[in-house]
Symmetry: C2
Subunit: 134 residues, 2 copies
C-alpha cells in the first residue's frame, strides 16, 4: 500500500555508550526483555483483532514500553512466519489500519511459548527462594 521509492537517509547520530553502574542496570533490563515482547504481542493478538496502537497502549498499560520501530518489524516477522495475519480496516478518524489476528500455527506456537515462559518463571523463582526440587 505504501510505495517504496529508494530514498536516501541521513545516518543517525549515535550517542556513545558509557559504562556506568546505572547503565548496566538498564542494560540488564533490555536483556531480560529479549524474546518476551514477541510472546506478549502474540498473546494480545490471540485475544482478538487489534492494530498497532492498541498493542502499544496495552503494553504501556502493563509497564512494557515499546516503540514503533520495535513493533512494526516484529509484526512483519509474525506475518512472514505465518503466525499472524492482518486485514485492512477503514477508520472513521484517519487512515486505514491493519488489524491483526492469530493463525492456527500462531496458536500452536503460542502454546509452546507459554510453556517456555512458565518454565523460566519457575526456574528463576526456584533460585530466588532457594528451594530444592523434590
Amino acid at each position: 500500500m505504501y510505495k517504496n521509492k529508494n530514498q536516501k537517509r541521513k545516518p543517525a547520530l549515535v550517542a556513545k555508550f558509557i559504562n556506568t553502574e546505572k547503565m548496566k542496570a538498564s542494560n540488564t533490563q533490555t536483556q531480560m526483555r529479549k524474546g518476551i515482547l514477541e510472546f506478549c504481542i502474540l498473546h494480545i493478538i490471540a485475544r482478538g483483532e487489534v492494530y498497532a496502537t492498541d498493542m502499544i497502549d496495552e503494553l504501556k498499560n502493563a509497564q512494557l514500553i515499546i516503540v514503533e520501530g520495535t513493533l512494526y518489524p516484529l509484526l512483519n516477522r509474525l506475518k512472514t512466519s505465518g503466525l499472524a495475519s492482518y486485514k485492512w480496516v477503514e477508520s472513521e478518524t484517519g487512515p486505514p489500519r491493519k488489524y491483526y489476528s492469530i493463525t492456527p500455527e500462531g496458536n500452536e506456537f503460542l502454546k509452546q511459548l507459554d510453556k517456555t515462559w512458565s518454565d523460566l518463571d519457575n526456574s528463576v523463582n526456584q533460585i530466588l527462594n532457594h528451594q530444592k526440587k523434590p
Copy 2:
C-alpha cells in the same frame, strides 16, 4: 595462575540454522533467558561462597542448563565490574578452585535486578491475565 600460550584454533564447524517451528521455539527460549543467567548467578553467589561446579549444579537443579563456556566468561565479567570477588581454595580431590562471593556493589546491583525481574514478571502476568492496572 594458568599460562596462556598463543595457540591456533581451527574454525568451529557451524551447523546451518534451519527454520522450523521447533527451532523457532528453542530460539525463543534462549532469547527469553538472556540477561537472566547473570541475575541467577548473582543470587547464588550472594548466598555464600561457591565455585563454578556448585553453580552449574544448582542451576541444573532448577532446570536452567548452563555450560562452562557461558559461565566462566560471565564470572569474569562479574569480577571485572566489581560485583563479585573470589579466592583460591585448595581442594582435597583435585585442582584448586575459585570460590566466589558477592561484593557490596554486587549486592546493591542485585537489588536493582530483583526489581527489574519482578517488574517484568508482573508485566508479563498482567498481559497473560489481561487485567487492567487500577
